[in-house]
């Protein structure tokens, strides 16, 4: 694998995480628990779409075959998407979305802090913009964890259930593939493994402050980074790619 190939792959991973997470968050539109929160969740979705656009655009440049961000977002087959499985988990109820956002944002907070120092200036620039957004996403989901965890018996149960259900998809975030090892060596990417302890510490703090127990199950499901997804992914793509696939000649 060349450095260029590894960087392309690395950017697709980052871009796909943002793309698929934006898709799930945008499903909240007109379905929020209160109008204010409807706007808050779509604001987060907009941050993610913007990030996906930047990362996929750059991926297309790095690949050098003239693929636009839209072509990468809308025309790849399922096994060529490399997001973490946690991103494609269904929207679920509000507790599920909040738990998912906390688990992802905590990882992204650590990841993008590192990527701000990437030797690749474009990536460092994207990370510099992303880190501000991520801090807000993290704060927003942390505060809601407190409210749900310490709110009512029901809200505590639902949040606990969400954390339990998502836990097996969190470990994948810290895996290192060949392209990531190469990116780390080049001081472009980040050592995911090194983030895990800090991640766990931060997540444990928020959850214990929310009266939520850390799951004890140790099984981890992964595969997204290799293009092997859950059954959710095909449905996401069949919606997302519908117009692009049904009218391949059209420009929108």
């Amino acid at each position: 694998m060349t450095k260029q190939e590894a960087l392309y792959q690395y950017l697709l991973q980052l871009g796909d995480n943002a793309l698929i997470q934006s898709h799930r968050l945008s499903e909240w539109c007109s379905k929020g628990p209160i109008l204010e929160e409807d706007l808050a969740l779509t604001n987060i979705a907009l941050d993610y779409i913007g990030r996906a656009q930047n990362l996929l655009h750059y991926a297309g440049e790095v690949e050098g075959k003239g693929q636009s961000a839209d072509q990468l977002a809308y025309r790849r087959p399922e096994h060529q998407y490399y997001n973490n499985l946690i991103a494609e988990m269904p929207k679920g109820d509000f507790a599920f979305t909040i738990a998912k956002q906390l688990l992802i944002s905590t990882y992204e907070l650590l990841l993008y802090t590192e990527l701000c120092h990437s030797k690749d200036e474009t990536l460092a620039g994207i990370a510099g913009k992303a880190i501000k957004e991520v801090r807000y996403h993290w704060t927003h989901s942390r505060d809601w964890c407190y409210r749900l965890g310490k709110g009512t018996v029901l809200s505590n149960e639902l949040l606990q259930q969400a954390v339990n259900d998502l836990w097996m998809y969190t470990g994948e975030q810290f895996e290192m593939g060949a392209e990531e090892e190469l990116m780390l060596k080049e001081v472009i990417g980040c050592d995911n493994k090194a983030l895990q302890n800090k991640w766990l510490e931060m997540v444990e703090t928020v959850l214990s402050d929310s009266n939520i127990k850390i799951p004890t199950a140790t099984y981890n499901q992964s595969g997204g980074r290799k293009g092997i997804h859950t059954e959710n992914m095909g449905h996401i793509l069949s919606e997302m790619q519908y117009l692009q696939r049904a009218y391949p000649e059209a420009i929108w």
Binding site: I34, E36, L39, A40, N43, T139, H140, D143
Partner: protein, 96 residues
């Protein structure tokens, strides 16, 4: 009785530039001050309108009564000596 609620009403004040006054932007619903601040941010600063936000529970805002406008505001009508233009300055004096 249902315990359902649309949460409390808060008034939002936005400072549009550092150093400028905070002006009333509108209201949001929220259960606590952090939520009120975040909601105000998501609703009233989506187009770069703000550099800082205040939120105040609407129940703590007191407003003057329209019927009191006469006694509240009219008495200051005739006190022109509070304005610099009231004073006659000697011809030729500078920087005053």
């Amino acid at each position: 009785m249902s315990t359902d609620t649309q949460l409390d009403l808060w008034e939002v004040f936005i400072q549009s530039r550092p150093g400028s006054h905070y002006t009333h932007a509108g209201s949001v619903h929220a259960s606590d001050n952090q939520m009120a601040l975040q909601n105000a941010r998501d609703i009233y600063t989506r187009r770069n309108e703000g550099t800082s936000i205040w939120v105040v529970p609407a129940k703590y805002v007191s407003a003057s009564n329209a019927e009191d406008a006469g006694m509240f505001f009219d008495p200051s009508n005739d006190k022109m000596y509070r304005h610099p233009t009231f004073y006659v300055m000697p011809e030729g004096a500078k920087q005053i």
